[in-house]
Symmetry: C2
Subunit: 259 residues, 2 copies
Protein backbone atom coordinates (compact mmCIF):
# COMPACT_ATOMS: atom_id res chain seq x y z
CA UNK A 1 0.00 0.00 0.00
CA UNK A 2 1.17 3.54 -0.72
CA UNK A 3 -1.44 5.45 1.22
CA UNK A 4 0.66 6.21 4.26
CA UNK A 5 2.98 9.03 5.21
CA UNK A 6 5.60 9.03 7.93
CA UNK A 7 4.15 9.83 11.33
CA UNK A 8 0.63 8.76 10.39
CA UNK A 9 -1.54 7.43 13.15
CA UNK A 10 -4.30 4.86 12.81
CA UNK A 11 -7.29 5.68 14.99
CA UNK A 12 -10.13 3.20 15.27
CA UNK A 13 -12.92 3.36 12.71
CA UNK A 14 -16.37 4.17 14.12
CA UNK A 15 -19.47 3.00 12.27
CA UNK A 16 -23.15 3.54 13.13
CA UNK A 17 -22.20 6.33 15.54
CA UNK A 18 -25.80 7.45 15.98
CA UNK A 19 -27.18 3.95 16.58
CA UNK A 20 -29.31 4.14 19.74
CA UNK A 21 -29.08 0.51 20.90
CA UNK A 22 -27.58 -0.34 24.29
CA UNK A 23 -24.45 -2.06 22.91
CA UNK A 24 -21.17 -0.91 21.44
CA UNK A 25 -19.50 -3.67 19.39
CA UNK A 26 -15.68 -3.61 19.28
CA UNK A 27 -13.43 -5.54 16.88
CA UNK A 28 -9.73 -5.17 17.68
CA UNK A 29 -8.60 -7.78 15.13
CA UNK A 30 -10.83 -6.61 12.26
CA UNK A 31 -8.07 -5.94 9.74
CA UNK A 32 -5.14 -7.75 8.17
CA UNK A 33 -3.83 -4.50 6.70
CA UNK A 34 -0.09 -3.91 6.90
CA UNK A 35 0.56 -0.21 6.25
CA UNK A 36 3.56 0.55 4.03
CA UNK A 37 5.69 1.72 6.98
CA UNK A 38 5.91 -1.86 8.24
CA UNK A 39 6.22 -3.60 4.86
CA UNK A 40 5.23 -7.26 4.94
CA UNK A 41 6.81 -7.90 8.37
CA UNK A 42 8.80 -10.56 6.51
CA UNK A 43 5.76 -12.82 6.16
CA UNK A 44 5.55 -15.35 3.36
CA UNK A 45 2.96 -14.38 0.70
CA UNK A 46 -0.52 -15.44 1.80
CA UNK A 47 0.21 -15.54 5.51
CA UNK A 48 -1.05 -12.00 6.04
CA UNK A 49 -4.47 -13.15 4.86
CA UNK A 50 -4.53 -16.02 7.37
CA UNK A 51 -5.67 -15.87 10.99
CA UNK A 52 -2.41 -14.54 12.26
CA UNK A 53 -2.80 -11.06 10.72
CA UNK A 54 -6.45 -10.58 11.68
CA UNK A 55 -9.47 -12.61 12.83
CA UNK A 56 -11.16 -13.98 9.66
CA UNK A 57 -14.87 -13.27 9.68
CA UNK A 58 -14.77 -11.17 12.83
CA UNK A 59 -15.44 -7.80 11.19
CA UNK A 60 -18.23 -9.21 9.01
CA UNK A 61 -19.87 -10.81 12.02
CA UNK A 62 -19.35 -7.68 14.14
CA UNK A 63 -21.03 -5.58 11.43
CA UNK A 64 -23.90 -8.07 11.21
CA UNK A 65 -24.41 -8.05 14.95
CA UNK A 66 -24.19 -4.26 15.20
CA UNK A 67 -26.84 -3.88 12.48
CA UNK A 68 -29.20 -6.37 14.10
CA UNK A 69 -28.72 -4.91 17.60
CA UNK A 70 -28.84 -1.30 16.37
CA UNK A 71 -25.43 -0.90 18.01
CA UNK A 72 -22.38 1.24 17.32
CA UNK A 73 -19.24 -0.45 16.00
CA UNK A 74 -15.59 0.44 16.63
CA UNK A 75 -12.85 -1.49 14.80
CA UNK A 76 -9.12 -1.36 14.22
CA UNK A 77 -7.78 -0.44 10.76
CA UNK A 78 -4.39 -2.18 11.09
CA UNK A 79 -3.26 -5.79 11.54
CA UNK A 80 -2.74 -7.14 15.04
CA UNK A 81 0.76 -8.10 13.89
CA UNK A 82 1.76 -4.42 13.77
CA UNK A 83 0.19 -3.90 17.21
CA UNK A 84 -2.47 -6.04 18.90
CA UNK A 85 -4.84 -3.45 20.40
CA UNK A 86 -6.17 -6.07 22.82
CA UNK A 87 -2.81 -6.24 24.57
CA UNK A 88 -1.00 -3.72 26.82
CA UNK A 89 2.31 -2.33 25.56
CA UNK A 90 4.50 -4.53 27.74
CA UNK A 91 2.76 -7.81 26.82
CA UNK A 92 4.79 -10.14 24.61
CA UNK A 93 1.72 -10.48 22.38
CA UNK A 94 1.46 -6.75 21.71
CA UNK A 95 4.03 -7.03 18.92
CA UNK A 96 4.31 -10.80 18.73
CA UNK A 97 7.45 -12.43 17.38
CA UNK A 98 5.53 -15.68 16.87
CA UNK A 99 1.87 -16.48 16.17
CA UNK A 100 1.00 -20.12 16.81
CA UNK A 101 3.83 -21.80 14.82
CA UNK A 102 4.55 -18.89 12.46
CA UNK A 103 7.51 -16.60 13.07
CA UNK A 104 6.92 -12.88 12.42
CA UNK A 105 10.37 -11.81 11.22
CA UNK A 106 9.52 -8.10 11.14
CA UNK A 107 8.73 -8.18 14.86
CA UNK A 108 12.00 -9.75 15.97
CA UNK A 109 14.51 -7.60 17.81
CA UNK A 110 12.49 -4.39 17.67
CA UNK A 111 14.27 -1.34 19.07
CA UNK A 112 12.64 0.64 21.88
CA UNK A 113 11.98 3.44 19.38
CA UNK A 114 10.29 1.06 16.94
CA UNK A 115 8.06 -0.28 19.71
CA UNK A 116 7.21 3.23 20.88
CA UNK A 117 6.33 4.24 17.30
CA UNK A 118 3.81 1.38 17.06
CA UNK A 119 2.27 2.26 20.41
CA UNK A 120 1.85 5.87 19.27
CA UNK A 121 0.68 4.96 15.77
CA UNK A 122 -1.79 2.17 16.55
CA UNK A 123 -2.46 1.36 20.22
CA UNK A 124 -3.01 4.83 21.68
CA UNK A 125 -5.11 6.17 18.76
CA UNK A 126 -7.30 3.05 18.73
CA UNK A 127 -8.07 3.29 22.42
CA UNK A 128 -8.43 7.09 22.36
CA UNK A 129 -11.10 6.77 19.67
CA UNK A 130 -12.91 4.02 21.54
CA UNK A 131 -12.63 6.00 24.79
CA UNK A 132 -14.08 9.09 23.10
CA UNK A 133 -17.03 7.10 21.76
CA UNK A 134 -17.74 5.58 25.18
CA UNK A 135 -17.47 9.02 26.83
CA UNK A 136 -19.85 10.48 24.25
CA UNK A 137 -22.43 7.77 24.90
CA UNK A 138 -22.10 8.14 28.68
CA UNK A 139 -22.70 11.87 28.30
CA UNK A 140 -25.93 11.47 26.32
CA UNK A 141 -27.31 8.93 28.78
CA UNK A 142 -26.62 5.82 26.71
CA UNK A 143 -24.00 3.98 28.80
CA UNK A 144 -22.91 1.28 26.34
CA UNK A 145 -22.59 -2.41 27.02
CA UNK A 146 -19.23 -3.43 25.51
CA UNK A 147 -19.17 -6.53 23.27
CA UNK A 148 -15.84 -7.44 21.68
CA UNK A 149 -15.97 -9.86 18.72
CA UNK A 150 -13.13 -12.25 17.83
CA UNK A 151 -12.63 -15.47 15.86
CA UNK A 152 -10.36 -18.43 16.55
CA UNK A 153 -8.89 -21.25 14.49
CA UNK A 154 -10.53 -24.72 14.29
CA UNK A 155 -7.20 -26.28 15.22
CA UNK A 156 -4.40 -25.16 17.52
CA UNK A 157 -0.99 -26.72 17.01
CA UNK A 158 -2.78 -29.48 15.09
CA UNK A 159 -5.40 -30.35 17.71
CA UNK A 160 -9.08 -29.75 16.79
CA UNK A 161 -11.16 -27.46 18.99
CA UNK A 162 -14.70 -28.61 19.82
CA UNK A 163 -15.89 -25.26 21.15
CA UNK A 164 -17.71 -23.17 18.54
CA UNK A 165 -18.80 -20.14 20.55
CA UNK A 166 -16.60 -18.94 23.41
CA UNK A 167 -17.93 -16.40 25.91
CA UNK A 168 -15.22 -14.74 27.99
CA UNK A 169 -15.40 -12.41 30.95
CA UNK A 170 -13.00 -10.40 33.08
CA UNK A 171 -13.80 -9.18 36.62
CA UNK A 172 -17.48 -8.48 35.79
CA UNK A 173 -19.16 -11.72 34.63
CA UNK A 174 -22.75 -10.41 34.40
CA UNK A 175 -23.11 -10.28 30.64
CA UNK A 176 -21.03 -13.42 29.93
CA UNK A 177 -23.19 -15.50 32.24
CA UNK A 178 -26.33 -14.07 30.64
CA UNK A 179 -25.04 -14.86 27.13
CA UNK A 180 -24.16 -18.44 28.05
CA UNK A 181 -27.57 -18.86 29.65
CA UNK A 182 -29.42 -17.51 26.61
CA UNK A 183 -27.26 -19.49 24.14
CA UNK A 184 -28.62 -22.81 25.43
CA UNK A 185 -30.87 -23.42 22.42
CA UNK A 186 -28.80 -21.78 19.70
CA UNK A 187 -27.21 -24.96 18.35
CA UNK A 188 -23.60 -23.99 18.98
CA UNK A 189 -21.12 -25.70 21.27
CA UNK A 190 -21.00 -22.77 23.70
CA UNK A 191 -18.45 -22.62 26.49
CA UNK A 192 -17.62 -20.08 29.16
CA UNK A 193 -14.03 -18.80 29.11
CA UNK A 194 -12.99 -21.00 26.17
CA UNK A 195 -10.82 -21.27 24.11
CA UNK A 196 -9.18 -18.54 26.18
CA UNK A 197 -9.87 -16.82 29.47
CA UNK A 198 -8.85 -13.64 31.25
CA UNK A 199 -5.96 -15.63 32.75
CA UNK A 200 -4.48 -15.71 29.21
CA UNK A 201 -4.37 -11.88 29.20
CA UNK A 202 -6.89 -11.59 26.37
CA UNK A 203 -9.27 -9.14 28.05
CA UNK A 204 -7.27 -5.91 27.89
CA UNK A 205 -9.97 -3.91 26.09
CA UNK A 206 -12.56 -4.95 28.69
CA UNK A 207 -10.23 -3.89 31.52
CA UNK A 208 -9.28 -0.60 29.89
CA UNK A 209 -12.60 0.57 28.47
CA UNK A 210 -15.50 -1.17 30.24
CA UNK A 211 -14.53 -1.90 33.85
CA UNK A 212 -13.50 1.69 34.74
CA UNK A 213 -17.03 2.85 33.93
CA UNK A 214 -18.86 -0.12 35.43
CA UNK A 215 -20.17 -1.02 31.96
CA UNK A 216 -21.39 -4.60 31.47
CA UNK A 217 -19.08 -6.32 29.00
CA UNK A 218 -18.16 -9.56 27.30
CA UNK A 219 -15.64 -10.94 24.80
CA UNK A 220 -17.09 -13.27 22.14
CA UNK A 221 -14.97 -15.83 20.28
CA UNK A 222 -16.46 -17.62 17.23
CA UNK A 223 -14.67 -20.53 15.53
CA UNK A 224 -13.61 -19.11 12.19
CA UNK A 225 -14.67 -22.09 10.04
CA UNK A 226 -18.25 -21.13 10.93
CA UNK A 227 -17.90 -17.59 9.53
CA UNK A 228 -15.74 -18.27 6.47
CA UNK A 229 -17.95 -16.54 3.87
CA UNK A 230 -20.13 -13.41 3.88
CA UNK A 231 -23.19 -15.69 3.83
CA UNK A 232 -21.92 -17.61 6.85
CA UNK A 233 -21.16 -14.36 8.68
CA UNK A 234 -24.75 -13.20 8.09
CA UNK A 235 -26.17 -16.56 9.16
CA UNK A 236 -24.11 -16.45 12.36
CA UNK A 237 -25.27 -12.88 13.04
CA UNK A 238 -28.87 -14.07 12.57
CA UNK A 239 -28.22 -16.88 15.04
CA UNK A 240 -26.39 -14.86 17.71
CA UNK A 241 -28.22 -11.52 17.61
CA UNK A 242 -31.34 -12.86 19.41
CA UNK A 243 -29.12 -14.55 22.01
CA UNK A 244 -27.31 -11.27 22.65
CA UNK A 245 -30.52 -9.24 22.65
CA UNK A 246 -31.98 -11.44 25.38
CA UNK A 247 -28.73 -11.29 27.36
CA UNK A 248 -28.65 -7.49 27.04
CA UNK A 249 -32.21 -7.33 28.33
CA UNK A 250 -31.18 -9.43 31.33
CA UNK A 251 -28.34 -7.07 32.33
CA UNK A 252 -30.18 -3.84 31.54
CA UNK A 253 -31.04 -2.06 34.75
CA UNK A 254 -28.04 -3.69 36.40
CA UNK A 255 -25.49 -1.29 34.88
CA UNK A 256 -23.14 0.06 37.53
CA UNK A 257 -22.68 3.14 35.35
CA UNK A 258 -26.33 4.05 35.80
CA UNK A 259 -26.20 3.76 39.60
CA UNK B 1 -7.03 35.23 29.52
CA UNK B 2 -6.66 35.73 25.78
CA UNK B 3 -4.37 32.81 24.99
CA UNK B 4 -7.02 30.46 23.66
CA UNK B 5 -8.49 29.86 20.22
CA UNK B 6 -11.76 28.12 19.41
CA UNK B 7 -11.41 24.36 19.30
CA UNK B 8 -8.31 24.31 21.47
CA UNK B 9 -7.75 21.25 23.58
CA UNK B 10 -5.99 21.09 26.93
CA UNK B 11 -3.83 17.99 27.28
CA UNK B 12 -2.19 17.22 30.59
CA UNK B 13 1.22 18.73 31.29
CA UNK B 14 4.03 16.21 31.77
CA UNK B 15 7.06 17.15 33.87
CA UNK B 16 10.18 15.13 34.67
CA UNK B 17 9.37 12.73 31.81
CA UNK B 18 12.75 11.03 32.00
CA UNK B 19 12.69 10.55 35.78
CA UNK B 20 13.54 6.91 36.45
CA UNK B 21 11.83 6.43 39.83
CA UNK B 22 9.06 3.87 40.23
CA UNK B 23 6.24 6.39 40.72
CA UNK B 24 4.19 8.62 38.46
CA UNK B 25 2.56 11.48 40.40
CA UNK B 26 -0.76 12.77 39.04
CA UNK B 27 -2.52 16.01 39.98
CA UNK B 28 -5.96 16.35 38.39
CA UNK B 29 -6.89 19.49 40.35
CA UNK B 30 -3.58 21.31 39.91
CA UNK B 31 -4.93 24.44 38.24
CA UNK B 32 -7.55 27.09 38.86
CA UNK B 33 -7.19 28.40 35.30
CA UNK B 34 -10.41 29.28 33.49
CA UNK B 35 -9.61 29.54 29.75
CA UNK B 36 -11.28 32.43 27.93
CA UNK B 37 -13.81 30.16 26.21
CA UNK B 38 -15.53 29.58 29.55
CA UNK B 39 -15.20 33.11 30.95
CA UNK B 40 -15.48 33.29 34.72
CA UNK B 41 -18.26 30.67 34.91
CA UNK B 42 -20.20 33.42 36.66
CA UNK B 43 -18.09 33.12 39.81
CA UNK B 44 -17.72 36.06 42.16
CA UNK B 45 -14.23 37.60 42.03
CA UNK B 46 -11.83 35.66 44.27
CA UNK B 47 -13.79 32.42 44.25
CA UNK B 48 -11.77 31.00 41.38
CA UNK B 49 -8.69 31.22 43.59
CA UNK B 50 -10.38 29.26 46.39
CA UNK B 51 -10.57 25.50 46.77
CA UNK B 52 -13.50 25.11 44.45
CA UNK B 53 -11.54 25.92 41.27
CA UNK B 54 -8.48 23.83 42.11
CA UNK B 55 -6.84 22.12 45.09
CA UNK B 56 -4.68 24.77 46.83
CA UNK B 57 -1.16 23.48 47.45
CA UNK B 58 -1.69 20.25 45.56
CA UNK B 59 0.50 21.07 42.57
CA UNK B 60 3.30 22.44 44.75
CA UNK B 61 3.21 19.36 46.95
CA UNK B 62 3.00 17.06 43.92
CA UNK B 63 6.06 18.76 42.43
CA UNK B 64 7.91 18.46 45.71
CA UNK B 65 7.08 14.78 46.02
CA UNK B 66 7.97 14.05 42.39
CA UNK B 67 11.37 15.70 42.85
CA UNK B 68 12.13 13.83 46.07
CA UNK B 69 10.96 10.47 44.67
CA UNK B 70 12.61 11.04 41.27
CA UNK B 71 9.17 10.51 39.77
CA UNK B 72 7.36 11.78 36.71
CA UNK B 73 4.50 14.25 37.17
CA UNK B 74 1.33 14.67 35.10
CA UNK B 75 -1.07 17.53 35.90
CA UNK B 76 -4.14 19.21 34.48
CA UNK B 77 -3.85 22.73 33.03
CA UNK B 78 -7.51 23.74 33.49
CA UNK B 79 -9.78 24.21 36.52
CA UNK B 80 -11.87 21.30 37.74
CA UNK B 81 -14.86 23.62 37.39
CA UNK B 82 -14.58 23.48 33.59
CA UNK B 83 -14.20 19.69 33.76
CA UNK B 84 -13.09 17.60 36.75
CA UNK B 85 -10.70 15.07 35.19
CA UNK B 86 -11.17 12.78 38.20
CA UNK B 87 -14.83 12.22 37.27
CA UNK B 88 -16.39 10.28 34.36
CA UNK B 89 -18.47 12.28 31.86
CA UNK B 90 -21.84 11.25 33.25
CA UNK B 91 -20.99 12.06 36.90
CA UNK B 92 -22.77 15.13 38.31
CA UNK B 93 -19.37 16.30 39.60
CA UNK B 94 -17.74 16.30 36.15
CA UNK B 95 -19.16 19.78 35.44
CA UNK B 96 -20.51 20.59 38.88
CA UNK B 97 -23.34 23.08 39.28
CA UNK B 98 -22.48 23.44 42.96
CA UNK B 99 -19.25 23.09 44.95
CA UNK B 100 -19.82 22.76 48.69
CA UNK B 101 -22.15 25.76 49.21
CA UNK B 102 -21.08 27.76 46.16
CA UNK B 103 -23.21 27.76 43.02
CA UNK B 104 -21.31 27.64 39.70
CA UNK B 105 -23.62 29.68 37.47
CA UNK B 106 -21.69 28.93 34.28
CA UNK B 107 -22.29 25.21 34.75
CA UNK B 108 -26.07 25.42 35.15
CA UNK B 109 -28.24 24.14 32.33
CA UNK B 110 -25.40 23.17 30.01
CA UNK B 111 -26.51 21.94 26.60
CA UNK B 112 -25.43 18.49 25.41
CA UNK B 113 -23.11 20.20 22.90
CA UNK B 114 -21.51 22.33 25.63
CA UNK B 115 -20.92 19.24 27.76
CA UNK B 116 -19.47 17.34 24.81
CA UNK B 117 -17.14 20.27 24.02
CA UNK B 118 -15.71 20.17 27.57
CA UNK B 119 -15.23 16.40 27.40
CA UNK B 120 -13.35 16.79 24.12
CA UNK B 121 -11.39 19.85 25.24
CA UNK B 122 -10.34 18.77 28.73
CA UNK B 123 -11.26 15.24 29.86
CA UNK B 124 -10.19 13.18 26.86
CA UNK B 125 -6.92 15.07 26.20
CA UNK B 126 -5.93 14.87 29.88
CA UNK B 127 -6.44 11.13 30.06
CA UNK B 128 -4.93 10.52 26.61
CA UNK B 129 -1.73 12.25 27.73
CA UNK B 130 -1.62 10.34 31.01
CA UNK B 131 -2.38 7.08 29.18
CA UNK B 132 0.45 7.74 26.72
CA UNK B 133 2.91 8.39 29.54
CA UNK B 134 1.89 5.19 31.34
CA UNK B 135 2.14 3.21 28.09
CA UNK B 136 5.60 4.64 27.43
CA UNK B 137 6.80 3.65 30.89
CA UNK B 138 5.34 0.15 30.57
CA UNK B 139 7.14 -0.23 27.26
CA UNK B 140 10.55 0.67 28.66
CA UNK B 141 10.16 -1.67 31.61
CA UNK B 142 9.30 0.95 34.22
CA UNK B 143 5.68 0.10 35.12
CA UNK B 144 4.73 3.14 37.19
CA UNK B 145 3.07 3.17 40.57
CA UNK B 146 0.29 5.78 40.31
CA UNK B 147 0.04 8.38 43.10
CA UNK B 148 -2.64 11.05 42.77
CA UNK B 149 -2.25 14.15 44.96
CA UNK B 150 -5.19 16.23 46.20
CA UNK B 151 -5.96 18.71 48.97
CA UNK B 152 -9.11 19.22 51.00
CA UNK B 153 -10.60 22.04 53.06
CA UNK B 154 -10.16 22.23 56.87
CA UNK B 155 -13.91 22.64 57.22
CA UNK B 156 -16.84 21.17 55.30
CA UNK B 157 -20.16 22.96 55.57
CA UNK B 158 -18.74 24.62 58.68
CA UNK B 159 -17.59 21.46 60.50
CA UNK B 160 -13.84 21.10 61.18
CA UNK B 161 -12.06 18.05 59.83
CA UNK B 162 -9.56 16.34 62.15
CA UNK B 163 -7.93 14.22 59.46
CA UNK B 164 -4.76 15.79 58.05
CA UNK B 165 -3.56 13.11 55.66
CA UNK B 166 -6.12 10.93 53.88
CA UNK B 167 -5.03 7.79 52.03
CA UNK B 168 -7.63 6.42 49.64
CA UNK B 169 -7.77 3.24 47.61
CA UNK B 170 -9.99 1.67 44.99
CA UNK B 171 -10.12 -2.08 44.25
CA UNK B 172 -6.38 -2.55 44.83
CA UNK B 173 -5.50 -1.47 48.41
CA UNK B 174 -1.83 -2.59 48.41
CA UNK B 175 -0.18 0.81 48.26
CA UNK B 176 -2.75 2.59 50.45
CA UNK B 177 -2.27 0.07 53.25
CA UNK B 178 1.50 0.37 52.92
CA UNK B 179 1.33 4.18 53.08
CA UNK B 180 -0.87 4.15 56.18
CA UNK B 181 1.47 1.66 57.80
CA UNK B 182 4.58 3.72 57.04
CA UNK B 183 2.89 7.00 58.07
CA UNK B 184 2.64 5.89 61.71
CA UNK B 185 5.48 8.09 62.94
CA UNK B 186 5.08 11.04 60.59
CA UNK B 187 3.17 13.28 62.96
CA UNK B 188 0.04 13.67 60.86
CA UNK B 189 -3.48 12.55 61.69
CA UNK B 190 -3.52 9.88 59.00
CA UNK B 191 -6.68 8.02 58.07
CA UNK B 192 -7.56 5.39 55.51
CA UNK B 193 -10.33 6.36 53.07
CA UNK B 194 -10.91 9.78 54.69
CA UNK B 195 -12.20 12.43 54.10
CA UNK B 196 -13.53 10.58 51.04
CA UNK B 197 -13.52 7.02 49.80
CA UNK B 198 -14.06 5.18 46.54
CA UNK B 199 -17.75 4.97 47.45
CA UNK B 200 -17.86 8.75 46.89
CA UNK B 201 -16.78 8.22 43.26
CA UNK B 202 -13.48 10.06 43.76
CA UNK B 203 -11.18 7.37 42.34
CA UNK B 204 -11.90 7.66 38.62
CA UNK B 205 -8.27 8.20 37.61
CA UNK B 206 -7.20 5.11 39.57
CA UNK B 207 -9.91 3.02 37.87
CA UNK B 208 -9.16 4.35 34.40
CA UNK B 209 -5.37 4.46 34.40
CA UNK B 210 -3.94 2.17 37.08
CA UNK B 211 -6.28 -0.81 37.58
CA UNK B 212 -6.38 -1.88 33.88
CA UNK B 213 -2.62 -2.38 33.99
CA UNK B 214 -2.43 -3.91 37.46
CA UNK B 215 -0.36 -0.93 38.62
CA UNK B 216 -0.22 -0.30 42.37
CA UNK B 217 -1.96 2.99 43.10
CA UNK B 218 -3.19 5.37 45.76
CA UNK B 219 -4.97 8.71 46.10
CA UNK B 220 -3.50 11.10 48.68
CA UNK B 221 -5.53 13.91 50.28
CA UNK B 222 -3.71 16.56 52.35
CA UNK B 223 -5.60 19.16 54.40
CA UNK B 224 -4.95 22.41 52.59
CA UNK B 225 -4.19 24.55 55.65
CA UNK B 226 -1.03 22.44 56.02
CA UNK B 227 0.24 23.34 52.53
CA UNK B 228 -0.82 26.98 52.31
CA UNK B 229 2.57 28.45 51.36
CA UNK B 230 5.46 27.29 49.16
CA UNK B 231 7.48 26.72 52.34
CA UNK B 232 4.71 24.59 53.83
CA UNK B 233 4.42 22.61 50.59
CA UNK B 234 8.16 21.88 50.71
CA UNK B 235 8.01 20.92 54.39
CA UNK B 236 5.11 18.55 53.71
CA UNK B 237 7.01 17.02 50.79
CA UNK B 238 9.99 16.52 53.11
CA UNK B 239 7.69 14.84 55.62
CA UNK B 240 5.78 12.61 53.20
CA UNK B 241 8.46 11.61 50.68
CA UNK B 242 10.20 9.15 53.07
CA UNK B 243 6.80 7.67 54.00
CA UNK B 244 6.00 7.14 50.33
CA UNK B 245 9.47 5.82 49.52
CA UNK B 246 9.15 3.16 52.20
CA UNK B 247 5.63 2.27 51.02
CA UNK B 248 6.85 2.03 47.41
CA UNK B 249 9.61 -0.31 48.52
CA UNK B 250 7.00 -2.48 50.26
CA UNK B 251 4.88 -2.91 47.13
CA UNK B 252 7.79 -3.23 44.69
CA UNK B 253 8.02 -6.76 43.44
CA UNK B 254 4.27 -7.15 44.00
CA UNK B 255 3.31 -5.29 40.82
CA UNK B 256 0.71 -7.24 38.83
CA UNK B 257 2.01 -5.53 35.72
CA UNK B 258 5.35 -7.25 36.12
CA UNK B 259 3.85 -10.73 36.48
Amino acid sequence: MTDQRAGDTFPAIVERREAPGPALVVCEHASNRLPAEWGTLGLAPGLAEAHIAGDPGALGLARGLAARLDAGLVHAPVSRLVYDCNRPPHAPGAMAVKSEMHAIPGNAGLSPAARQRRVEAVYLPFHATLHAEIARRLLIGLPPVIITVHSFTPTWFGAPRAVEFGVIHDADPRLALAVVGEAAGCGLNTQLNQPYSAADDVTHTLKLQALPYGLANVMLEIRNDLIATPEAEAAMADRLAPVLARALARVSGQSHAAD
